[in-house]
Symmetry: C2
Subunit: 238 residues, 2 copies
């Protein structure tokens, strides 16, 4: 039980970005210093956002199958680099022997309460309808706003869709517009609450904005969990 | 059995690079067009090159455990983005229900026989001592040379070691020197026969050289194998 279980494929590029962060965040000078990771990249899982909005098939059976697969591989913790999938976090946690780390908790924990930050959550319409980011921000007394459904959100939707289609340049243009619009709405801190969004961050013009990367925060929480338990020590399977 | 099994972690960065290639090589406009992949990233496996040279612990029991884990996850094919590990290819294949694709076969298949190419194999000393690249090149009648153990190979060793330690700039400098030296030895085509080397290719000065990327060729073979069997079609687990 000394392996990180990553339930990925939602989407595949976001999973690769997350795994890259896991490797870069681990202090290592040779292969054997790194953390064992089992990845179940299952891209055929029904669209999470659409299902939350009642417009698509229920992905829960597929999500539970992925959790079962990772538990069979004897992982000691499970993380899911897909924000929208966290709508089913409680059901997945109940079905899992290994604990799950919540991406929104990891993300909101990176914002100091009382900092006066006004947070905008950039996420799928499904994730926003689910409300897990809002609940976490409220619980920690952090002021927040949601993107205008007829304004910034249209660009967030396009940003995510274009990443999944591999058109990163167009996606970055939409992210730039989305960020500028939520700042106009009064946001001082932007949570990139969709792991696709973080992929095009570098290509977007977000200078001067405070951005919180949900993929990076989940990777930090994962590495901290594993290092605290010594999973980087050689010999576990030698 | 409709999933690609990737036995990774040797090293972790090379595995991330390989997964990125799998995603980019797959024709897709949405998550559900992508290929299901199970990754066992087990970085604690004993150093392959040292073991082949009789200077380290035998990694075979760990390699067979990884193959067993992927078979338990019901993968339909197994690929290993680590060249040196292919010294144990036959033993791993015999123990696996899922077929294994050989990285050297995928790589050498990218060179046209009779092209007059003189190939240099850039790999670990262990992989070269194992001889699987030389056997594959001989079998296909392709002329080749090996890096001077006291010259180019010293830079190849340093290039690989520095990648594993995360020092990409220094690594790229060693790759540049290694490539220039094998070209001086008479090479016209360079096989990057170590998946760490391909990571720093962009940072190296290799202009005018014909390079074959073993990680890319294995990714191409993997995607072709999976697409030919329709593993990208949604519904397999819906």
């Amino acid at each position: 039980m000394t392996r990180i279980g990553v339930f990925g494929g939602m989407g595949p590029s976001a999973s690769v970005d997350f795994l890259d962060k896991l490797v870069k965040l681990t202090p290592a000078s040779r292969d054997q210093d790194h953390l064992p990771v089992i990845v179940a990249s299952l891209p055929h899982i029904h669209d999470r956002s659409s299902a939350i909005l009642g417009q698509g098939k229920d992905p829960l059976p597929q999500l539970l199958a992925g959790i079962e697969m990772l538990n069979k591989a004897e992982v000691g913790v499970i993380v899911i680099p897909c924000n929208s999938a966290h709508h089913w976090f409680d059901e997945m946690s109940r079905s899992s022997k290994a604990p799950l780390l919540h991406i929104a908790k990891a993300c909101v924990a990176a914002i100091a309460p009382g900092s006066g930050a006004r947070v905008a959550v950039l996420a799928t319409r499904g994730a926003l309808a689910s409300g897990f980011y809002q609940r976490e921000l409220l619980a920690r007394g952090i002021d927040f706003l949601l993107p205008d459904p007829q304004g910034a959100q249209i660009h967030i939707d396009a940003c995510i869709r274009e990443v999944k289609a591999g058109r990163l340049d167009i996606s970055a243009q939409h992210l730039t517009q989305a960020c500028q619009e939520v700042v106009r709405q009064g946001a001082t801190t932007l949570i990139m609450g969709c792991t696709e969004i973080t992929i095009v961050r570098r290509g977007a013009d977000v200078s001067g904005m405070v951005l919180i990367d949900s993929s990076l925060e989940l990777a930090r929480a994962s590495v901290a969990f594993a290092l605290a338990r010594g999973w980087n020590r050689p010999g576990w399977d030698s």
